[in-house]
Amino acid sequence: MLQVFIPSLMRKLTNDKHVVEINATSITELINKLDIEYPGMKEQLTEGNLIKDGLSVVINDEISNNPLLEQLKDGFEIHFVPTIGGGNY
C-alpha cells in the first residue's frame, strides 16, 4: 500500500481526507486508481498523460525528476506539491 498525501487544495475531492491508501506500482496506476475512488483527482493532477504544469511529485522525501518512470514500493509516501518557481535560488 502506498501512502498518498492529498494536497489541501484538493481535499474537497476526498471528503477532506489528508492521507489515502492506494495499491499501485507506478504513478500513472496510482492516479488512475485515485480517480476511481475520488472522481476528479485525475483532472487535477494530470494534463494529457503528463503531470500537470505547476505540480511536482515527491516520493518519500525526494522530489522526483521523472515521476512517471519511478517504481513504487509498498510503504512509499507520495506527495503532490506546488512547483517552486520564479526565484527559488
Partner: protein
C-alpha cells in the same frame, strides 16, 4: 560512495584559490571589461510610467543621429511560437513561464508594466551616442491606474494582465485578477488545535522591497554571425540556463547560441534572469556588428528584479510547557509585473525549523506595477522568518521560557513531517539551536543600558539539479578539471578540492576551468546553494572515473586483474604482491590513450541533502533619541554538512549575515505614488559599509547530509534568513518595542519608542 571521514587530506584545508592572483591584480575579465573587434555599444529606452498601453514607438529621429547603427523593439523578435518554456528560475520543478512574459520583460510589446521596463534599444559607435539616440526615441502611450502593493493588487479594479487566471496547484480559477497563484499547505486541524492553545500570539508584519546589491552591474556582449551562430559573453549565474532562455526568447534553437560566462561580480540570484543578452543579440543581428550593453547603477536598481515587498500574518499557539500546537501563516508577496514571486519558497520555509502537528499556510503571488522580482539569496525565506521568529520571541517572553530553549523544545528533526507533506531526512536544526544555546556569545552578560540581544533560526532547502564535469590527466600527474558552474565565490576551488581528495592530489595540482556552453555538459545555475554540492559531486565522480581508468591501465602493465589493484595515499599497488606499486605521477607519465574521466549528476530539486539551517545571535545598542542601531556583536551559526573549504564557508556565512543586517536596518525602495523609485543610487539605497559592522563571528556545525560523498550541505543561502528577525528581537529587548516592519530604520524605531511611551503614559492615566 565514500563514507564521511573525520580526517581528509585536502577537504577542510584552506588553499589559495585558483583564480585568486588574477583577481587581486586586476587581470580577471568581467563582462564590462570585455571587448572584441568591430564592437558597437548599446543603450536601452525604458518606460517612464508604471502602467500604460503602448500606442506608438517612433524611432525615426534617433535613426538619423550620426553614429547610430541599429535600433530594435519587440517587433524584432522572430520565429518562436508562444509556448511555455522553462527558465533558469523554474527549471527546478518543471514549472513554466509564458514566453510572452519573458519577452515583454526584455522588450515591451503591448503594455508598459513598470517604470524602467525596456522598450527599445540602440546600437551606436559609442555609448554616449547610443544614450543620446535613446533620448530621441518618441514613445506614445495611454496611462492606466497603477497597482503598487499587494493590498491594491488583490482589491483594485485595475487588472494588469487581462488573460491571467489564479493558479491553484493543478487548476486555474477563472476570472480577471492580479493574483497569479495561491499556494496552500495544511497539516492536521489547526482551527481545532488553536482552541486548545494556552497562549496564542498573532502579528501582522510588512517588509519593503530590497535589492541584491551586487557591486557589478549587468553587462553583456553578443555577436550574431552570418552563419546564424550567436555568441554571448556575459556575467551570469548560469551559462546554460542563460543560453536556453536567450535562445527561446530569440526564437532560435539552443544549439545556435553559445554563452561564454566571464567572471561575475556578485549575483545573489539577481543574475539568473536574462535582461541584456537577447537585446544585444538583436542589435548585433540588425547592425552586423558585435554589440555590448552595460547597465548603469540606476538601471540596476530600477529595472532588474529585486526581492518583493510583503504583507504577512503569522499566528502561533502553544501550551504552557512551550510545545507549539498550531501555526498559521498568511503570506502576500509582490511578484512584480509578471508572475513568479518566491512566495512558494517562503511558504515552504516559514515554519520549517519546527515540528508542529497542525499548520495552515496560505501564500499569494500578487502582480503589481513594479519590476519583476528575481531571486535574492534564499528567496522568500527571510521575510517569512522575520514573521515567524519575532512571533516565537513573543511566545517565549509570555511563557517565560528562554528563547533558545523554546526553539529546542519544538525543533524539527529527521522524520519530522513538514507542512507541505514530506518528512525530513537527516538535518542539523537541533544541533544549530543547541550550538546557539551553549555559545559563549549567548551566555555572556549584557551590562550596558539600551542594549538588547536577539536570536533567530532560518532554513533554506537547497537544490541539487544537474551538473557535468570532465577531468583530463596530464603527463606530469596534474589534472585539468572542466566544469560549467560560474564561480561567484571560489567554487572552482571547492570543486577542485573534492576531485583532489579522490586522487590524492594537492589543490594546486588540479587546474579547474569554468567553460562555455559548447565545452561541457549541461550544468544548472550557480545558485540554490548547489554548486559545491552538485558540481562537486560531479567532479568527485569524474575523479573516481579517472582513478578506475588508471587502475585498469596499471593492471594491464602488471598483467594482473584490475580487481587486485588498490589506490591509497597517491600510490597504486597490488593487493597480492607488495612489490608491485606505482605512484600516481609515474603512472600518469606512461604513454597510452589519454585518460579522461567524466561525471554527470542530477541531484533532484528542492530539499537536496535536506537543506541547511542557520541561526544568528546579535547584540544591538539603540540610541533612544535618534533611533540609530549599532550592531555590537554578531554570531552566525550554520550547518555546513561538511565544510570543504572552511574560509569560503565562513565567507558565505559572513556575507549573508551582513546582507541580512542591511535588510534589517536600512535597505528599502522608496517609491512614489506613481511607482517611481526615488533612491536608486548606492548613496540613498543604504547598504552596510565597513564602519557599520563589528567582526562577524562564525560557528560551523557539521551534520553530514545523507548521500553526498563528503556529506556537504550547500551553505550559500540559509545564513541570510535569520538576521533580520534576530535584529528585530534584539531591538525589542533593547527598547521594549516589537518591530513589525522591515527595515527597522532610525525613523521607525524612534516612532515606536515614542508611541510606546505614550501608551504607557496613557495606561497610567486610566
Amino acid at each position: 560512495m565514500a563514507t564521511v571521514k573525520k580526517d581528509y587530506k585536502v577537504i577542510g584545508s584552506r588553499p589559495v584559490r585558483h583564480d585568486g592572483v588574477d583577481k587581486v591584480t586586476g587581470k580577471a575579465i568581467y563582462s564590462a571589461d570585455f571587448s572584441i573587434s568591430d564592437l558597437l555599444h548599446g543603450k536601452v529606452l525604458r518606460s517612464p510610467v508604471a502602467h500604460a498601453v503602448i500606442k506608438k514607438i517612433d524611432t525615426s529621429k534617433a535613426e538619423k543621429l550620426a553614429g547610430v547603427r541599429a535600433i530594435v523593439t519587440a517587433k524584432d523578435f522572430i520565429g518562436s511560437s508562444d509556448k511555455n518554456i522553462e527558465t533558469a528560475e523554474d527549471r527546478n520543478e518543471g514549472e513554466t513561464t509564458r514566453l510572452k512574459y519573458l519577452r515583454d520583460n526584455v522588450l515591451a510589446s503591448d503594455k508598459l508594466l513598470y517604470i524602467g521596463q525596456p522598450v527599445a534599444a540602440v546600437a551606436a559607435t559609442s555609448s554616449h551616442i547610443a544614450e543620446e539616440a535613446v533620448s530621441l526615441i518618441e514613445l506614445e502611450f495611454e496611462t492606466l491606474e497603477p497597482v503598487l502593493n499587494t493590498t491594491q493588487g488583490l482589491n483594485s479594479k485595475s487588472i494588469i494582465h487581462q488573460e491571467l487566471e489564479t493558479k491553484e496547484l493543478g487548476t486555474k480559477v477563472p476570472g480577471k485578477t492580479n493574483l497569479a497563484e495561491h499556494i496552500q499547505h495544511k497539516l492536521g486541524d489547526p482551527e481545532e488545535a488553536f482552541k486548545h492553545a494556552e497562549i496564542i500570539v498573532e502579528r501582522e508584519l510588512t517588509t519593503e522591497t530590497v535589492h541584491q546589491g551586487y557591486i557589478e552591474p549587468h553587462a553583456a556582449t553578443a555577436s550574431w554571425s552570418n552563419d546564424g551562430r550567436i555568441t554571448v559573453w556575459c556575467s551570469t549565474q548560469g551559462a546554460f540556463p542563460a543560453r536556453d532562455t536567450t535562445a527561446d526568447i530569440l526564437g532560435v534553437p539552443i544549439s545556435q547560441v553559445k554563452v561564454v560566462p566571464l567572471e561575475i561580480g556578485g549575483g545573489f540570484g539577481g543574475k539568473i534572469p536574462v535582461y541584456l543578452e537577447p537585446v544585444a543579440a538583436l542589435l548585433s543581428r540588425a547592425s552586423g556588428h558585435p554589440v555590448k550593453l552595460v547597465m548603469s547603477r540606476k538601471e540596476v536598481f530600477e529595472c532588474t528584479g529585486p526581492t518583493p515587498g510583503t504583507l504577512m500574518r503569522v499566528k502561533i499557539g502553544a501550551d504552557k510547557s512551550g510545545k507549539f500546537l498550531a501555526a498559521q501563516a498568511h503570506l502576500e508577496f509582490e511578484a512584480g509585473a509578471f508572475p513568479g514571486s518566491p512566495v512558494a519558497a517562503g511558504s515552504y520555509c516559514v515554519f520549517a525549523p519546527y515540528e508542529i502537528p497542525n499548520i495552515l499556510i496560505d501564500g499569494y503571488d500578487v502582480i503589481v506595477n513594479k519590476a519583476k522580482t528575481a531571486a535574492y539569496r534564499a528567496p522568500g525565506a527571510t521575510m517569512a522568518a522575520f514573521a515567524t521568529e519575532t512571533v516565537i520571541d513573543e511566545v517565549a517572553e509570555k511563557l517565560q521560557i528562554d528563547p533558545a530553549e523554546l526553539r529546542l523544545i519544538n525543533t524539527a528533526k529527521k522524520g519530522t513531517r513538514r507542512a507541505d507533506g514530506p518528512v525530513y531526512p537527516t538535518i542539523g536544526c537541533e544541533e544549530v539551536i543547541k550550538t546557539i544555546k551553549d555559545s559563549e556569545h549567548y551566555n555572556s552578560p549584557i551590562t550596558e543600558p539600551h542594549v538588547g540581544r536577539g536570536i533567530a533560526i532560518g532554513y533554506w532547502f537547497n537544490v541539487g539539479l544537474e551538473s557535468a564535469c570532465t577531468i583530463s590527466l596530464s603527463k606530469n600527474g596534474t589534472i585539468n578539471l572542466i566544469e560549467g558552474s560560474t564561480d561567484i565565490g571560489g567554487t572552482r576551488t571547492s570543486i577542485a578540492m573534492q576531485a583532489a581528495e579522490v586522487l590524492g592530489l594537492l589543490p594546486e595540482e588540479v587546474i579547474p576551468s569554468v567553460v562555455d556552453t559548447d565545452s561541457i555538459g549541461f550544468t544548472s545555475v550557480t545558485g540554490g546553494s548547489r554548486t559545491t554540492y552538485a558540481t562537486g559531486w560531479a567532479a568527485y565522480e569524474a575523479a573516481i572515473d579517472v582513478k578506475n581508468q588508471m587502475i585498469t591501465k596499471v593492471a594491464g602493465i602488471w598483467s594482473i586483474d584490475a580487481d587486485n589493484v588498490e589506490f591509497e595515499d597517491g600510490v597504486f599497488f597490488s593487493k597480492q604482491d607488495t612489490e608491485l606499486k606505482m605512484s600516481f605521477k609515474e603512472l600518469a607519465s606512461k604513454s597510452g590513450a589519454p585518460i579522461v574521466g567524466r561525471g554527470s549528476v542530477s541531484k533532484g530539486g528542492m530539499g537536496a541533502g535536506g537543506g541547511s539551517f542557520a541561526g544568528a545571535i546579535v547584540d544591538v545598542k539603540i540610541d533612544p533619541e535618534t533611533g540609530k542601531t549599532t550592531v555590537l556583536r554578531f554570531t552566525c551559526v550554520q550547518d555546513a554538512g561538511k565544510a570543504i573549504y572552511p574560509s569560503f564557508v565562513e565567507g558565505q556565512m559572513q556575507g549573508g549575515s551582513v546582507q541580512g543586517i542591511g535588510w534589517a536596518l536600512n535597505e528599502e525602495y522608496f517609491m512614489t505614488d506613481d511607482g517611481r523609485m526615488t533612491n536608486s543610487s548606492l548613496l540613498d539605497y543604504r547598504m552596510p559599509t565597513s564602519l557599520d559592522l563589528p567582526m562577524i563571528e562564525t560557528i560551523i556545525v557539521e551534520v553530514p547530509s545523507d548521500g553526498h560523498p563528503y556529506g556537504v550541505r550547500g551553505v550559500g543561502e540559509a545564513n541570510i534568513v535569520s538576521p533580520p528577525a534576530a535584529v528585530a528581537n534584539a531591538i525589542y529587548h533593547a527598547t521594549g518595542v516589537r518591530q513589525s516592519r522591515l527595515p527597522m530604520n532610525p525613523a521607525s524605531i524612534t516612532k515606536g519608542i515614542q508611541d510606546h511611551r505614550s501608551d504607557i503614559l496613557n495606561s497610567m492615566n486610566c
